[in-house]
Symmetry: C2
Subunit: 344 residues, 2 copies
């Protein structure tokens, strides 16, 4: 006779090695925890793959998430793992449609926390208009992982004809950021260091697919969009400078930074330009379209603090230079020696 296992204890239970074994215990984890949260017609076929209708021009992006702590002010690894990948797809100008999710769980991880994370993923996916269509679960022994790592891969379809890419950037193009910078990294670092800054700094983690769709619709002169995650605005702009063969000129006074984020950065010895964001994008567009694009972004809740922060310039060294608030000039380099490990 087949033996019936008791229901998973989603309150006090813990991840066991058998949950990754491919047998009945894994099947139970899928049936009682993952499926109820993610349920959709494609996922419910329950094969090791998912079929979906494609489009002519498609986009794929993947992101592993290893953030510590798993729960932080403004979010958790669950919603972050959806936003991170949805945003990578959206930055290409594609409409994000499908996600896969691969979990690497540590033996002993509380099922209650996993349930919370999975529920957060499901809500984020719903809000972003994407379906989690296939997945995988592995379990490693205690001490060989760190709670949960989640790798998501996203698929999107391109439905417009604006050519986007660093190669489209021209000298004189304007640089717009969709809101305040450094919120995510500072929220996570504060929690990690046990710091409190009076006001609670929240991660900005959010899906930016509506903002990217609006940008494409509004600005025919849109050149490229990027989300400044790990490495922050500084890394993204340095990459774009190198890829475009131009330089970047920033105006420090125009950078939107929350005072409490600025304060925390001073305390932690960080430059907000190097700090990760998870709900912001940088758009580069023709000078002609810049005001219109800025106004459009500001009319959206996720872009209300959008600002024009600089422009592209001819520069054989591909430097990112910034006019400081004191009128000086400094080179904004990538983060090199210093580091913010496991920020996403």
């Amino acid at each position: 006779m087949k033996t019936k296992r008791p229901k998973l204890d989603l309150k006090n239970g813990r991840v066991e090695l058998t949950y990754g074994g491919g047998g009945r215990a894994m099947s139970q984890l899928i049936d009682e925890l993952f499926r109820p949260a993610f349920s959709n017609t494609l996922l419910d076929e329950l094969a090791d793959y998912a079929g979906f209708p494609g489009g002519k021009r498609m986009v794929m992006a993947t992101d592993g998430h290893v953030i510590s702590p798993l729960f932080f002010p403004g979010g958790d690894i669950g919603c972050l793992s959806v936003h991170g990948t949805v945003n990578d797809v959206a930055m290409s100008g594609a409409k994000p449609l499908y996600l896969s999710a691969s979990f690497i769980l540590e033996e002993g991880f509380p099922l209650g926390d996993l349930h919370r994370i999975v529920t957060s993923m499901a809500e984020a996916a719903k809000a972003a208009g994407v379906s989690i269509v296939t997945g995988d679960t592995k379990v490693v022994e205690r001490g060989k992982g760190d709670g949960v790592f989640i790798t998501t891969t996203g698929i999107g379809v391109v439905e417009h004809d604006t050519p986007l890419g660093a190669g489209e950037i021209r000298s004189g193009d304007k640089i717009i950021v969709s809101g305040t910078i450094g919120d995510h990294g500072v929220a996570v670092m504060s929690k990690r260091e046990g710091l409190s800054f009076g006001t609670d700094i929240q991660s900005d983690t959010a899906a930016l697919h509506e903002l990217t769709a609006l940008a494409i619709e509004t600005a025919p002169g849109l050149r490229v969009m990027r989300d400044p995650t790990r490495g922050g605005v500084a890394a993204t702009l340095n990459e774009l400078a190198e890829a475009s063969g131009l330089g970047v000129r920033l105006d420090e006074a125009s950078l939107p930074i929350r005072p409490e984020v600025n304060g925390a950065c001073e305390l932690l010895g960080l430059d907000p330009l190097n700090v990760a964001n998870e709900g912001k994008l940088i758009a580069i567009c023709s000078a002609e379209d810049a005001d219109k694009l800025l106004a459009t972004m500001r009319a959206h809740p996720l872009g209300k603090n959008a600002a024009m922060i600089g422009e592209m310039a001819d520069d054989p060294h591909h430097f990112v230079q910034m006019t400081t608030s004191l009128g000086g000039n400094r080179i904004v380099d990538w983060l090199s020696g210093e580091q913010l490990p496991r920020i996403c």
Copy 2:
């Protein structure tokens, strides 16, 4: 001035936390280790996403790989992470085309080992006719991971009209396995336990896309294909029994099992039916097409030991039953309490 970093030491260097920081060190790891191995036109665009031409009917599959040890007889986590996902895509009947790869590295992991793994991935991808088009790298602190975990996601296009799925299975359909069972699991367990069985048992890790394409071409009565990985043949057949609403009748004498694998299983207390395979598929097809399909598989190097091992039968309990070599009858259940952790 921008500082130039010395080249990565791919012989004696080790993974540092900065390699996951989104800054110059990470960019260097990508430029000096990943790009030279995986180079292709889509990847070389170097955005956080990859564009590719789609098709009308597409398939997506994902697999996290946490195998221990990383190097085992017959393969390593690199080629395994390509084969595992290529096979999941291929089982759907799709042609695998694109892969993403997400690496979670442990601080201190030898760069030489990473280079070996990445080279093995690149070779496996080339052999399987797929391109690794986008990826991600994260680094966790020493003791928070275990060397390297790799999640790959695969995309394929369906180019035929045979309806495949457990719902297509009929009573009387035949069950074919493409070759010897249990090789992968036993190879890994032997290495892990430090056992030697005289002859070296090798993992069967391989890409099965040619075999699946041949099966579709040969057998209009093909119902479903599955690769019996974690949980082995027993788990796959139990899943198919439940999903089809039928039962499975196996004939033990017909199971292709290497004598040395059988011997090792006895020593390790394992049932070969529960042991993982990474280069085998189970095909269920109409009785009419079974001989033709078997002959076609046997003509391919990866199917030369293919065998017809049983058939589907009406069974309200959806049991997998096996006539033993001694003429008895036993129920083949999923692996339940026992386990083979980190076998893939």
